[in-house]
Amino acid sequence: MFARAASPRVIPGFGPTLGFTLAYLSLVVLLPLAMIPLKALGLSGAEVLAIVTDARTLHAIGLSFGAALAAAAVNAVLGTLLAWVLVRYDFPARRLVDALIDLPFALPTAVAGISLAALYAPNGWIGERLAPLGLKVAYTPLGIVVALIFVGLPFVVRTVEPVLEALDAEVEEAAATLGASWFAGFRRVVLPLIGPAVLTGFAMALARGIGEYGSVIFIAGNLPMVSEIAPLLIAIRLEEYNDAAAAMIALLMLAAAFALLLTINLLQAWARRRIGG
């Protein structure tokens, strides 16, 4: 079925490597993942309806998506700024700062979680400075956003950096000689060129934020209907031996995340067409 008439394969190992790859991927990823729709299918229509209209479930899913969207938006701005500064300016310790950007990828989420909780708790180093302002971060939805900003920080920086590196200086200079101010030049010339990269990083940070667990649960407070995220609710349902409800919530999350990422992909395709890049 895979045979091709032209160009017989010179390099050996096609059968074994593809066979191993498919078998491994099926056993570790695809078959186990199929358990989620399989388990959810075992539910009756009324049970499904009860789960998907449950206020606690809906709040948890809404919170996971809302907090992830907010954090990804902050990271889009922050990431663009960091990429700009790292690519364009020379300053002492630039390489060190550049290496440090990946810290959230390397630091285990539980470590980040307890550290952020300690920092933003009412008696923490940042928390006690925010308390007089009436700002409470730890054990509120705002704390969840702070944790998701941390875990998603590298995505936009790393997608925008190579585009800025490659950006033709002539394009910007042309804009400047045509009399555009720096900001107008940035907004009308640079931003459209790096836009797709920013959007890609935004989508990656968003996808990561929706499913994030370890860095969030320590700072969130985990109050049902207030600061309880969807992954935590899945874990709780499992501990109650309510496997089917856990699978149903997981299915909802996967479907919503898929729809969101599809939208972003379409948006990106539309942006590319518009720029004609």
Binding site: G13, L22, Y24, W84, A106
Partner: protein, 281 residues
């Protein structure tokens, strides 16, 4: 301002003041969002002195957690390294229909929540799972035992090596291997003497990231572990237990080891990037 000299041709009209403000904002963000959380780990771990720090690490349960984490990471890295090599070889050396779908599937674990990664193995191997009851009747415990922890970790770290190797091997093409084959080399000879030397840095890079994630995985492992102290507790899970018991010094002491692992990973990663950017290695 030589300090803020632009690295590349600047936007004309981007004044020194603008540059200074942007740099200050960027450094403040780095300090607030990255440096402060990192420094807090060490500050909290040492808040009661070195004695309390080492006491936290000397605890038998902490030691058991460290041993389990090292074991799980070693197994996960080894099997996903083998998978990464095989997948990259199949994808980059041959053409076949459905290739881009296969590459998408390889990346799938990155877009699944860690908790869902744990959930799927509970649904499969748990006491009420699909094949769990049969396995348990035959004396095989997967969930709430070490095999489940290994499986969940293997799932979340699966893409790392493959996704570093595939673009690198794609870029290098098939020419070298084809020449080696025509000169009579066997498949293994081609791999060890032609391909591997060309991709060793990319492979190492993938292993490094895979290991960091394997040692630090929390959500997926938390769901399948059962949290049996000294038995199915990895370092991140042990941190959670200590933290929830208000034993903050011990929690941050164990956390500091993982933070050192993260810093070591970043340092090695920067060194690798320097090597690969310089052709005259």
């Amino acid at each position: 301002m030589t300090l803020l000299a632009p690295r590349r041709s600047p936007l004309v009209g981007e004044s020194a003041t603008t540059r200074r403000v942007l740099l200050a904002l960027a450094l403040a963000a780095i300090g607030l969002f990255l440096l402060l959380p990192l420094a807090t780990v060490f500050a909290e771990a040492l808040s009661k002195g070195w004695g309390a720090y080492f006491e936290g690490l000397a605890d038998p349960d902490a030691r058991a957690a460290i041993r389990l984490t090292l074991l799980v990471a070693a197994i996960s890295v080894a099997v996903n390294f083998a998978f990464g090599i095989a997948a990259a070889w199949a994808v980059t050396k041959f053409d076949f229909p459905g290739k881009s779908l296969l590459v998408t599937f390889i990346d799938l674990p990155f877009s699944v929540s860690p908790v869902i990664a744990g959930l799927i193995y509970v649904l499969l191997f748990g006491a009420h799972g699909l094949i769990g009851p049969w396995l348990i009747a035959h004396g095989v415990e997967v969930i709430f035992a070490v095999p489940g922890i290994v499986l969940a970790t293997v799932f979340v770290t699966l893409p790392f090596v493959a996704r570093e190797l595939i673009p690198t091997m794609e870029m290098l093409g098939r020419g070298d291997e084809e020449v080696a084959r025509t000169l009579g080399a066997s498949g293994w000879q081609i791999f060890f003497r032609v391909t591997l030397p060309n991709v060793k840095w990319a492979a190492l890079y993938g292993v490094l990231l895979c290991n960091a994630r394997a040692m630090g995985e929390f959500g997926a492992v938390s769901v399948v572990s059962g949290h049996l102290r000294g038995q199915t507790d990895t370092m991140p899970l042990h941190i959670e237990i200590l933290y929830n018991e208000y034993n903050f010094v011990a929690a941050f002491a164990v956390a500091s080891l993982l933070a050192l692992m993260a810093l070591f990973t970043l340092a090695l990663k920067s060194a690798l990037e320097a090597v690969t950017e310089n052709p005259g290695r």
